[in-house]
């Protein structure tokens, strides 16, 4: 064996890190290299954590690849940028700096990334520049003198198209070669030292001039610059028209969630009803039959029915995210959000919270100021997450007549829209109270790149939808199923004593617990069955629906297993139903959300504050709703 081959086999897996400006395609590249499925979307600040993947280099050696949050500078200002800085500088405990940095650049916008490249050079790690989005550069007729650019920055360059997996082999080969030669250099003790330190304003200016000079020498302006984005923005960012379009878009989204899903939901419902009858026919009457039909099928079925709605909601969100509209919406909403004391970058975390508060809370990491970030975290769960859809839909379908308003809008869709709107308004009010009363402080600057519009990648959207649907179904299996067994056990045992007269469920644990807490909830119009359902609702909001199904089914209402909505419409007054909806606008969030808040804020203080203020608001809102409704004759 030769020396070179020997040292090559002795090397451990190479460590590569993807670094670059936000939205340059790092995650798309990471997914293409490692076969991962991390989130890719057309706005800055999608990735907020470090993610690791593996790939095999051409020589058979393994490599760890790190995907990192995007940044304009190693001078980290927000928690996500700290992740990138620490990873590049090797400051994380127990972790060495990467062997090779892959600097990912948007080939159509080189100026800012070249300044970052100059900073990377000071770090002294070998790096390769991936000129990504090269397809767009070519379409625009952008001429880049690669040889010269490579000489200027002192690093190899590879052109890539991450979304089409072009240029990956060459990129990997170059990175591999750099890793090997760097290892050799280390052995000989000749590696470059890290001389990076936080640049001051004058140094940033100097670096800009240098970057500007390089761009002038190596890049000829595009022959066919993109004009579509400008034209689209003229409509979408029109001060009045833009806001109307945004409102219309959200409105159509909620209408669609309600109306498009209906036929599919009917099918799923029928399927579960058939299953239930089938099982009842096969199994003898008794405990096992009750467990399966009342506990499992009624419970899980009542949640899975909402799969079509969840998929439609995510479809809208994914298309908005992938097209580049999200930042425009943030632009249009900025003044309103700023008026409520929210940071400009809070919009995207809050909009993601429509899907689920957990990724929403995670993405607040792009917010630099601590108080701004905490405020956003505290109000994020007020945005109506998709787990509330089952609760809303069930109640609305049961109590709100299916009439048309002005001949076009369905009344249920309008009510749904109203519920979402109350979530948004209360988030604004709460943040106003926090920011203007408790934490008056500096107002952070708001600057945001507006990316070029792109057609959403059908494959990307389809893949993400599939992931979302799978998560929803898995949740039904992992969380809801066991909980439903528990709810069933609690509402079945113990049996009523000999000679008891009341319904059997009154004597069960669930019945007793329900009757015990019921007095507290009675002022807001809740009966004991609802109270019981709220408890497992803390684990996952949609379980409340399933639990209602089970409690009523075990309680002897046969209708519950097949059509819970119809049953509720007999059992509850309209005032009670509205009060329940109001409760769920503010409903103290699920346990998983509290867990994430604890992790992101390093302690139990903020989850506790969040729980208490939301519980308080929920109770208050239900109380007011119930009594107003009763006064208006809906009791």
């Amino acid at each position: 064996m030769t020396d070179a081959a020997l040292s090559k086999t002795q090397l451990g897996p190479a460590r590569l890190a993807l670094v670059g400006n936000p939205n340059s395609g790092k995650t798309a590249l990471f997914n293409a290299l490692t076969g991962s499925r991390q989130k890719v979307a057309n706005y800055a600040g999608v990735t907020v954590e470090r993610k690791e993947g593996v790939l095999t280099l051409p020589g058979g050696r393994g490599a760890h690849v790190l995907d990192l949050p995007g940044t304009y500078s190693l001078r980290a200002r927000s928690p996500d940028e700290v992740v990138t800085r620490d990873a590049v500088l090797g400051r994380l405990s127990g972790e060495q700096p990467p062997d090779v940095v892959i600097c990912v650049a948007d080939a159509t916008n080189l100026r800012l990334v070249l300044r970052l490249v100059l900073e990377l050079k000071q770090v002294g790690r070998p790096f390769v520049l991936a000129l990504n989005m090269f397809d767009i550069a070519q379409r625009q007729g952008l001429r880049i003198d690669l040889e010269r650019l490579s000489a200027e920055i002192g690093a190899p360059i590879v052109t890539t198209v991450a979304t089409r997996k072009r240029g990956l082999e060459e990129l990997v080969a170059k990175a591999d070669a750099l890793a090997v030669s760097h290892a050799k250099l280390l052995e000989e003790g000749g590696a470059h030292e890290n001389v990076w330190r936080e640049p001051n304003a004058a140094e940033i200016r100097a670096a800009h001039r240098e970057a500007q000079r390089i761009v002038k020498e190596c890049v000829r302006p595009p022959e066919r610059p993109d004009t579509v984005t400008g034209k689209v923005d003229a409509v979408l960012l029109n001060p009045v028209g833009g806001l109307l379009i945004l409102a219309l878009l959200l409105f159509v989204m909620f209408q669609a969630v309600f109306t498009w899903a209906e036929p599919l939901m009917g099918l799923i419902e029928a399927g579960f009803a058939g299953l239930s009858t089938g099982v009842a026919a096969v199994l003898p009457d008794g405990l096992l039959q009750s467990l399966i039909t009342d506990g499992l099928i009624a419970g899980v079925g009542s949640v899975l029915v909402f799969l079509p709605q969840i998929v439609i909601l995510f479809f809208f969100i994914l298309v908005l995210e992938d097209s580049g509209y999200m930042t425009r919406a943030a632009f249009l909403m900025d003044k309103i959000m700023g008026g409520a004391g929210l940071h400009g970058r809070a919009f995207i975390p809050l909009l993601s919270s429509f899907a689920c508060a957990i990724p929403g809370i995670m993405s607040t990491r792009v917010i630099d100021n601590k108080h701004d970030r905490l405020t956003t975290i505290l109000v994020a769960p007020l945005m109506t997450c998709s787990a509330r859809i089952p609760v809303y839909t069930l109640i609305i379908a049961a109590f709100i007549p299916h009439t048309k308003v002005w001949g076009v809008f369905s009344l249920p869709g309008l009510v749904m829209f109203g519920l979402y709107a109350s979530g948004i308004v209360s988030a604004l009010v709460v943040s106003f109270v926090i920011r203007k009363i408790f934490w008056r402080g500096t107002v952070e600057p708001f600057m945001m790149e507006l990316p070029t519009y792109r057609w959403p990648e059908p494959r990307n959207v389809a893949m993400n939808l599939w992931t979302r649907a799978r998560i929803f179904i898995e949740r039904a299996g992992r969380i809801i199923l066991p909980l439903m067994v528990l709810v069933w056990v609690l509402s079945t045992f113990p049996y009523p004593p000999e000679g008891a007269t009341g319904p059997a469920i009154d004597y069960s644990f669930a019945g007793r617990i329900g009757h015990l807490i019921a007095p507290v909830m009675q002022p807001i119009g809740f009966n004991w069955q609802m109270t019981v359902a709220l408890v497992p609702g803390f684990a996952a909001r949609e379980v409340a629906v399933a639990a209602l199904g089970t409690v009523y089914a075990v309680g002897g209402d046969d209708e519950a297993g097949t059509n819970l909505g119809a049953l509720l419409s007999h059992q509850w007054s309209l005032a009670t139903a509205l009060s329940f909806l109001a409760w769920y606008v503010f409903a103290p969030q699920c346990a998983a959300t509290l867990g994430v808040v604890k992790r992101e804020t390093n302690g139990w203080t903020w989850p506790t504050v969040m729980f208490l203020y939301m519980a308080g608001l929920a109770y208050l809102a239900s109380f007011v709703t119930y009594h107003v409704a009763v006064a208006m004759g809906a009791g």
Binding site: R111, H208, P239, P451
Partner: protein
């Protein structure tokens, strides 16, 4: 940068550049839709007490591409108080609030 330049830029500019009268200097925060020109100075006070440290703001603006010599055009304005604004800075589109735009001095292109 010399002291004279940072103290009285208008005067020095006039002296140094015979064409300096081609456009008036103004704060970017006052720019209206459609106006364009060149950035001549970044940094300094925004005149708002609740803003962050001016030195930090200056660095952030610089990092986002607001640098002396960059060409700009105001593309869009928000509805309420015409705030925020969307700009083209060289080749990129950026949104920012007028509050921070007050730290940027620009010179409009002669029309």
């Amino acid at each position: 940068m010399s002291d004279a330049l940072s103290l009285a830029p208008e005067i020095t500019d006039l002296l140094a550049d015979p064409q300096a009268d081609r456009g008036a200097e103004s704060l970017l925060s006052k720019a209206r839709k459609g106006q364009r020109g060149v950035i001549v100075r970044v940094g300094g006070q925004t005149g708002r007490s609740e803003s962050i440290d001016p030195e930090e703001l200056e660095r952030r603006l610089l990092e986002m591409g607001f640098v002396e010599g960059a060409l700009f055009e105001v593309l869009h304005e928000g509805l309420f108080g015409r705030d925020p604004i969307a700009l083209r800075i060289d080749d990129m589109r950026v949104a920012l609030r007028r509050r921070e735009a007050a730290a940027v001095t620009v010179q409009y292109e002669e029309i």
